[in-house]
């Protein structure tokens, strides 16, 4: 596809379960970001991948959160032992490379933890 693709679009899970969210960036984009938006909040930076450099994990809220990216392709955000406060829309974005400025966002994965 032409845009950033995220799956699942909606996920409802029980507290304590693990979830995986997937992001397929625009082909050729070397930079990939994960943000989340909790209800009534802004976009909160989670993690940033750029090529083969070490990712910037400074936004991950706890060690229950982790993300991987294989080369310059798909990324997976994993949340272990989910808590109710993890409920949010998780947004993935990609950009053509460092210093590109503009990010292209997917439609997000809405996570609801019961």
């Amino acid at each position: 596809g032409a845009g950033v693709s995220q799956s699942p679009s909606n996920k409802v899970t029980e507290k304590g379960k693990d979830v995986e969210l997937r992001c397929d960036p625009i082909s050729g984009h070397t930079a990939l970001y994960w943000y989340r938006q909790r209800l009534g909040q802004g976009l909160e930076f989670l993690i940033y991948f750029q090529g083969n450099s070490a990712p910037d994990k400074s936004g991950l809220p706890s060690d229950r959160f982790s993300a991987e990216r294989t080369g310059e392709s798909v990324s997976t955000l994993t949340i272990q032992r989910t808590q109710q406060e993890d409920s949010a829309v998780y947004l993935c974005a990609s950009s053509p490379g460092p210093l590109a400025g503009e990010l292209f966002f997917g439609e997000g994965s809405r996570l609801t933890v019961l």
């Binding site: 950033v4 930079a31 970001y33 943000y35 909040q41 802004g42 976009l43 909160e44 930076f45 940033y48 750029q50 910037d56 947004l91 974005a93 460092p98 210093l99 590109a100 400025g101 503009e102 990010l103 292209f104 966002f105 997917g106 439609e107 997000g108």
Partner: protein, 112 residues
């Protein structure tokens, strides 16, 4: 620590009038700024940007103004149209880190 702030959660403007959305930042190291627009159930889309070497950038009905001394930027939409109704996020970044920090958003409603 909210480095990028949008103090107005909502704004209502009549069609044809000017919409002014404001954004303040605290980190003087930010050197580029962007505005994104978000419709419900969609990801944010890029609208307009400005680098710190400029104080104004214009694109059609959209103009972004940057006041570095005040650490303030604003987005002007004129004339406003009902299709402009959305949530607008400002974002700031540093060229050397490539990480964007977003504000909390302002919901704009343009009524006929």
């Amino acid at each position: 620590d909210q480095q990028v702030k949008q103090n107005s959660p909502s704004l209502s403007v009549q069609e044809g009038r000017i919409s002014i959305l404001n954004c303040d930042y605290t980190n003087s190291m930010f050197d580029y700024f962007l505005w994104y627009k978000k419709y419900p159930a969609e990801g944010p889309t890029f609208l307009i940007s400005i680098s710190s070497i400029k104080d104004k950038n214009e694109d059609g009905r959209f103009t972004v103004f940057l006041n570095k001394s005040a650490k303030h930027l604003s987005l002007h939409i004129v004339p406003s149209q009902p299709g402009d109704s959305a949530v607008y996020f400002c974002a700031a970044g540093r060229v050397d880190t490539d990480k964007l920090i977003f504000g909390t958003g302002t919901r704009l409603q343009v009524f006929p």
